[in-house]
Structure formats: structure tokens, C-alpha cells
Symmetry: C2
Subunit: 309 residues, 2 copies
């Protein structure tokens, strides 16, 4: 049996940083202590990246001081394009950095081995090892929030594609609406939580800021909400169809804020996908099991893997 390791994990988000002291093995991990603080912003991308490094180091020191066991390693995950092999934050549209050597700097500052990776892939790793995708060889784990991305478990391993994999939210599914990314017809322009709220607001003039409010309206029979919801389901089904056509996953795990809608999402999504699928393998649709702690748990697993190896 693998020995229990104590590691600190930090999931750097666009708004918040979630950190935790985690106790675990490569197949079991749980939070001992959790912390949350705002993600620092500075004048430009490199300055923001340095401020993030400072904030991560502070969180590590804080959790280390609170731990009854020596902290053996640190796992840190960030959004955007991430080069896991070289430990670089290649690009973040939101936080502004380019080719920033997070792993090296964090290693120097914390004095323990640092694993560095991508927030969505780390969440997928956690769902694969500990959550809704456990035991599967081929699965797509899709958090749906402000945007939509996917972690791809293929042949039992996370696929990175040099940091460029999993942009399922930016596949063109034919609706033609422009996306912030510069393309048209992107899945996330209709199906992200943010898009659902925005489209309902635009359609009705009632300002809502979360998809949960639209879900409520759908349950109440609001016809505008039903149209927006159906269009989101259609875009999502077409995106999943592309993943099924190219990759043949056994299951698609839906996470993020939108998955909190539960059957209101799953039932029509399954129906639409069944209508669209012809020869592809129909993936099982599941809800994520780990909630918004998945990225942090995944970062912890990466750190545990590194010290165990």
C-alpha cells in the first residue's frame, strides 16, 4: 500500500486561488485544510505572474505552518495554455502572461519539488482517479462555467497535446454567432454558464448573471428560458458529438456551474445526442463528482505522483 503523503495544492483561477493541505496517495486524497484568496493582478502579465508566485508561496508557507506533518511537495495549476513538461505558463488571455517559468521559480522559493500543470487537466485527473471517471480508459471531462474546456483521458492517461488539447468549447458547431476567440459558431458562445445568462438577459431584458437563474426560469416554464436552454443543449450535444466522432470516449463527465442543473441538463442533452449520433459510440453522460475542488485535488495528485515516483 502506498504511504500517505502530505502536499500543498494550489489552483490559480481567473478570480480566486484555492489552496489546500492534502493528505493522500496516488489513488486516494482528501483535504486537511483549505484556503481561498483573490488572485492578485498587477500592471501587466509578467508582473501578475510574479504576484501569483508570491501569493502561492505565502499560501504554501501558511498551510505548511498549519500542518502536523512535513509538506513533501507542492502542486500548482493555472489556466490558459500550459506546457507541463517544461513547467511553463505558455499563455493566459485572462491573466496576461506568456512563457512564464512558474515551476522553476516556485521550486526555488518553496524548497520542495513542485508539480506544475493545467487547471482543467488537473480537474480531469482528479475525476479520473477519485471521481466520476474512475476506472474508465477513455473519457472527456468538461467543466462548464465562464467558458468550456475539456480534459481528455485517452488510453488511461491525460492528453496534453503540448498544452493545446481540449478546447472543445471552441469547436464550430454551426450556429454562426461570433465568439470572443475570433471564430464563429463556438460551443461556448451558446452553452457556457456565462453565455446562457447573457443570452437570456439579451432576449428578455431581465438581467441575470448566472445560468442557475435561467435554469430556475426553465423549471417555471418561462418560454424564453426554454429557448435559450434548448439552444445551449443543442450546441453542447454537437460539441460532444465531435468528441465522440474523433475520440470514442466511454463517458463524458459534465462539471462546473452548469452541471449543478443536474437532470435539467442531462436528460435533454442525452436525448439530443441520441438523435444526432449515427455510427459513433454513444458516451455515457455523467455529472462530475468532485465539485470545484477538483482542480486543487488534481494538483495535489500531481505532487503526490512526483514524490512517489
Amino acid at each position: 500500500m502506498a504511504r500517505t503523503r502530505y502536499v500543498v495544492a494550489v489552483d490559480v483561477g481567473g478570480t480566486d486561488m484555492k489552496a489546500a493541505l492534502v493528505a493522500g496517495t496516488p489513488t486516494e486524497a482528501s483535504f486537511v485544510t483549505q484556503r481561498r484568496r483573490g488572485t492578485p493582478r498587477a500592471s501587466d502579465g509578467p508582473a501578475t505572474a510574479h504576484a501569483v508566485v508570491d501569493a502561492v508561496v505565502e499560501l504554501v508557507e501558511e498551510l505548511r505552518a498549519a500542518s502536523d506533518h512535513p509538506v513533501e511537495a507542492v502542486g500548482v495549476v493555472v489556466p490558459g495554455v500550459v506546457d507541463d513538461d517544461r513547467g511553463l505558463g505558455v499563455f493566459s488571455a485572462n491573466l496576461g502572461w506568456r512563457d512564464f517559468p512558474f515551476r522553476m521559480l516556485l521550486g526555488e522559493r518553496t524548497g520542495v519539488p513542485v508539480s506544475f500543470g493545467h487547471d482543467v487537466r488537473a480537474g480531469g485527473l482528479a475525476e479520473h482517479r477519485l471521481g466520476a471517471a474512475r476506472g474508465l480508459t477513455d473519457a472527456v471531462i468538461m467543466p462548464i462555467g465562464t467558458g468550456i474546456a475539456a480534459a481528455l483521458v485517452l488510453g488511461g492517461r491525460l492528453h496534453s497535446g503540448g498544452g493545446y488539447s481540449g478546447e472543445l468549447g471552441h469547436v464550430d458547431v454551426g450556429h454562426g454567432d461570433p465568439c470572443g476567440c475570433g471564430q464563429r459558431g463556438c460551443v461556448e458562445t451558446r452553452a457556457s454558464s456565462a453565455a446562457i445568462a447573457r443570452r437570456y438577459s439579451a432576449r428578455t431584458g431581465k438581467q441575470v448573471d448566472r445560468a442557475a437563474a435561467v435554469a430556475e426560469a426553465v423549471r417555471a416554464g418561462d418560454p424564453d428560458a426554454v429557448v435559450v436552454w434548448d439552444e445551449a443543449v443543442d450546441a453542447l450535444a454537437r460539441g460532444i458529438l465531435v468528441a465522440a466522432t474523433l475520440l470514442g470516449p466511454q463517458a463524458v463527465v459534465l462539471g462546473g456551474g452548469l452541471a449543478l442543473a443536474g437532470d435539467l441538463l442531462l436528460v435533454p442533452l442525452r436525448k439530443r445526442l441520441e438523435e444526432l449520433i449515427v455510427f459513433q459510440r454513444m458516451p455515457e453522460l455523467r455529472l462530475a463528482a468532485l465539485g470545484d475542488g477538483a482542480g486543487c485535488l488534481g494538483a495535489a495528485l500531481m505532487a503526490i505522483d512526483a514524490v512517489g515516483a
Copy 2:
């Protein structure tokens, strides 16, 4: 250094069966003797599958008799949906079988270990080990002929997806034309060699049966040929864009009959893809190196791997 193995490889196609005695190691393989014969057809799918087994056994005996070395293993690849792990031909639209236990039957009849797999993935394996995708971690190998499929090398390994992976020819790229598969907008409806020939014939009334004739007409400045060619390039670029968005491959290797057009295909395809790409990693576009022997070489490598392991 790995010892040279002698194996027999058979690539069962919809029309022809290509067979060869191959001498090689996991990283080097070459044809000693080659054979080709028509693929047998019988009254129904199971009967066709049994006839194919008989034909494979005959080819193995013939090549074994011609070999100066004992044949240690056999590799056989077939089209359609293939379950590599269980050695089943799950489904072939063209040849009609369902869940046919090829590996088991061939093992009993030949008396040597049999590796069984998928024609396109085997071709991809050969291009990855010996050809145009050598040394790459992440690559898409696309043979373009009657249809379009793709072998996906991800993290250095062929991805199977339970036999369902790689149907890049059936991704909807928005042109709306119906496909034989039952969907609309499929890449291969515009970009396969067969589609290019068919669409040029339909447009001009001049019957051509191969894309090579349309390529000739493009070179000669025929405006109808140019339209059909451009539409094919656009569909293909959009299909590759989807693969880039989801998988982030370093390179896309184009094979099959259409790739014989060389720069007439590559140059406008690269240009169109550069226009479409926004944040995705631009894959290098390469021509396949192994021609139509790739599937057979891949089958041989599978057999060599199995006896070497």
C-alpha cells in the same frame, strides 16, 4: 539491438487484400515478398468474414512456404470498427460483418500468435514508427481515399477509443450536404478522392473516376475543377482545425490517393488552415511517406511487437 523477426502481414481492404512477408524489428521493417489478391465476398457478412479468414490463411501458407526463415507471427488488419483488445471485427459497413472473432479463428488456423487491428490505425503506426510522423508525440495521420479516416498518435501511442476513434471524415464542417453515413456536412462528402471526382463529374457532366483527373484539370486552369478543389480544401482545413482544437497535434500527415497531388493539395490547405486558426497550435502539414503499403507494414509491426514483448 532487437533481433530481426519474420512475420506475415495482411491488410484486408474493401477491394483488395495486400499481404507480405516482412523482416524487421519494432523500429525497422521491410517487405521481403509481397502478394495481392481480391477480397472475397460471400452471401452475407459472416460468410464474407469466414471467406476472408480462409483467404488470409492461404496467403500466410503461401508466404510461409516462400520464406527462408520460420514465420513467428501474423498481423492482420481490417477496415470498419475494430476492437483491438478483444480481437474482434466489430462492424464493417462495406464487408458486412459484426462482432466477428478474427483473432481467435486466425490463431487456431495458423498456429502462430496473431495480432489483429484496424487498417487506418496500423497505417498510422507505420507512419509513426517508420515514416512521416517519426519522432512525434502527437500526430494525426489521415489517409484520404474513398473515405477519410484518421489514426491518432497521442502521447506517443495510437489511440483506439474502443475501436471508435478517428472518424475525422465524419465531422460536420457546415457545408450541409448529406453524407452516406446519415449525417450532413461531413468532411469526406467534399474532400475524399471519391467525392472530388463525383462532384466534378456532377458539375461538368464529364465522367472522371479519380481525384487525380480533377487535379490535372486544376493544373490546366479548368474553373470547375478549381471550384471543386477549393471546396475540398476548405472542408479538409475545417476538419483539421477541429483536430487541432481538440488535440493539439504537432503535425498532420496526409496520405491516400489524394496526397499524391502533393503541393497542389498542401499549399492551399496550409494557407486555408492558417486563415482559420486563431489560438490553436498550427500543425505542420506533411505528406505520408509509406504509400499504400503503410497498413501492411503496420500490421507487421503489431506482429513484431507481440512476439518481442
